[in-house]
């Protein structure tokens, strides 16, 4: 697998002494969708800003397709498109003018046919002569994407791309991201919507308090850290978990009507058959049962909680 971004010991400490990003090693592979997850202030935007050249690193180095972001900044930046978190646009410019500006700024010759197709793909073509100040928040977000893609980058950073956008636009963006990936564009996204990462990402990185806690293939991560929950709808409510079942990770829910058993789905012995047998022996009947795999969100919350407690 070819790596497109290689960060080695990359860190940022501000003059105030705030260590926004502890020395971080991270490799992003060509053509993948990499989701960087973390709570507010975790260091996600700092990481992106360092790679894109908006912030200067105080430790380590980064290369983009082999080009150092400081020494070979032109080659490195040529390859990157960035959609920032904030809706920062030139309010008085038209959609067409601002997109052309971005293409020129990144050193590309005029190509109106490409920009026309880009705006059409983003459903912006009929707004091309509209000033950005007259667009809705969702449309402004699309304009930022158009600007980021205007110079045909190989790598696209999406910093909270769906923050504050409606469900329909979010779905459109997911479709667009997949289409870009099919074209070979590497995508690095940060998001608060863990379901977004779960739906789209190939790999996931979790960052908290400026430290990259883990980087893992999403499926492997969910297998490795994922837990399952068995929920039993009881025939008669219980006031407490029976003492002789205390060796199981059991919780009573819904005023004693539901008994939940949480277990490691990857273990050979899940304990489910044994639990059911012992419940039967104890005369505890149930009307229905179901199991649920823990989501990426559950895993994320658990990891961040552990980091905060550390």
């Amino acid at each position: 697998m070819t790596s497109v971004i290689v960060a080695e010991g990359l860190g940022k400490t501000y003059a105030s002494g705030l260590e926004a990003l502890k020395p971080t090693d991270l490799t992003i592979n060509k053509g993948e969708i990499f989701a960087l997850l973390g709570p507010n202030g975790a260091g996600k935007t700092t990481f992106i800003s360092l790679v894109c050249g908006i912030v200067s690193p105080t430790a380590g180095k980064v290369s983009v397709e082999g080009f150092d972001i400081v020494a070979d900044y032109r080659q490195a930046r040529n390859r990157i498109g960035l959609v920032p978190q904030e809706l920062t646009t030139d309010a008085f410019e038209t959609v067409w003018a601002t997109t052309r500006f971005s293409r020129g700024l990144f050193g590309k010759a005029k190509d109106d046919a490409y920009l026309e197709q880009l705006l059409k793909d983003l459903s912006l073509w009929d707004k091309k002569t509209t000033k950005i100040m007259h667009l809705s928040g969702g449309m402004k977000r699309r304009v930022l994407i158009a600007k980021a893609l205007s110079h045909e980058p190989d790598i696209l950073f999406l910093d909270e791309p769906t923050a504050g956008v409606d469900v329909e636009l979010r779905r459109d963006m997911w479709a667009m991201v997949r289409k870009l990936r099919e074209r070979g564009v590497t995508i690095i996204l940060t998001t608060h919507y863990i379901e977004e990462a779960e739906e789209m990402a190939d790999r996931v990185g979790v960052i908290a308090k400026g430290r990259l806690i883990l980087v893992e293939d999403k499926t492997t991560l969910m297998k490795k850290l994922g837990r399952k929950t068995l929920t039993l709808n009881l025939q008669e409510p219980l006031s407490a978990v029976p003492a002789d079942l205390s060796d199981y990770d059991l919780t009573l829910k819904a005023e004693g009507q539901e008994l939940e058993y949480s277990f490691d789905a990857n273990r050979e012995e899940t304990g489910v058959p044994d639990l059911l047998r012992r419940l039967s022996d104890a005369g505890i009947g149930f009307k229905d049962l179901n199991t649920r795999q823990s989501s990426l969100e559950d895993i994320f919350v658990g990891l961040v909680h552990e980091e905060r407690a550390a």
């Binding site: 908006i54 200067s56 930046r77 920032p84 920062t88 646009t89 971005s102 050193g107 600007k147």
Partner: protein, 255 residues
Amino acid sequence: MIGNPYGIWAIYRFEMARALRTLWQSLVTPVITTSLYFVVFGAAIGSGMQEIDGVEYGAFIVPGLIMLSLFTQSIFNASFGIYFPKFTGTIYEILSAPVSAMEIVIAYVGAAATKSIALGLIILATAALFVPIRIEHPLMMALFLVLTAVTFSLFGFIIGVWAQGFEQLQFIPMLIVTPLTFLGGSFYSISMLPEPWRTITLFNPVVYLISGFRWSFYGTGDVGVVWSLLATFGFMITCLVAIAWIFRTGYRLKA
């Protein structure tokens, strides 16, 4: 070394388009203001004034008035040009683009200087409607016009990077540059001042710029033209050094 001409052109065109959008503010307002100066100083007061160095008072103040507009507009255009993306947050795009510090400066300062030079020429044309003007050294006049516009645009760029609010953006032009210009011989020859004011005025750098520009019109100035050129180049080099330091350290541009 210019590695991204498209980038320079994109910023330059963006800045020029902004001026066209605000044509009233950019060109018409300074022209009206200058015309009012001619009405007040040229017609009302000037009619009672003697000739200075053989030049009619109304014509004498033309170079000073052009310089006054050139200073303030160059600073305003360049400072606003770089400050506004900082204010709106769109500076992220400039900082993440494959453009060098020199290319950024060429684009912003070039656009600001272009606007100022155009304005200077418009004021000159406006002045010609009121008073008889002669230009004895047209090439030197053009050189001073370009050098001053570029130098004060560089200075404006520094102010735009330094400013953290709109009031700071106005602070240096309003409280330092305009008073120095008024006291720098825009409306009089410093030879008209009694001592020690005459000697003190020689410490005002603006005197040298106005004097050189006036020399290119009428062949006379308060100081030698070589001193005027040296002062202009000296200020330009100081600004260039400051800008180089800004980009090297990322001062108020890049954390």
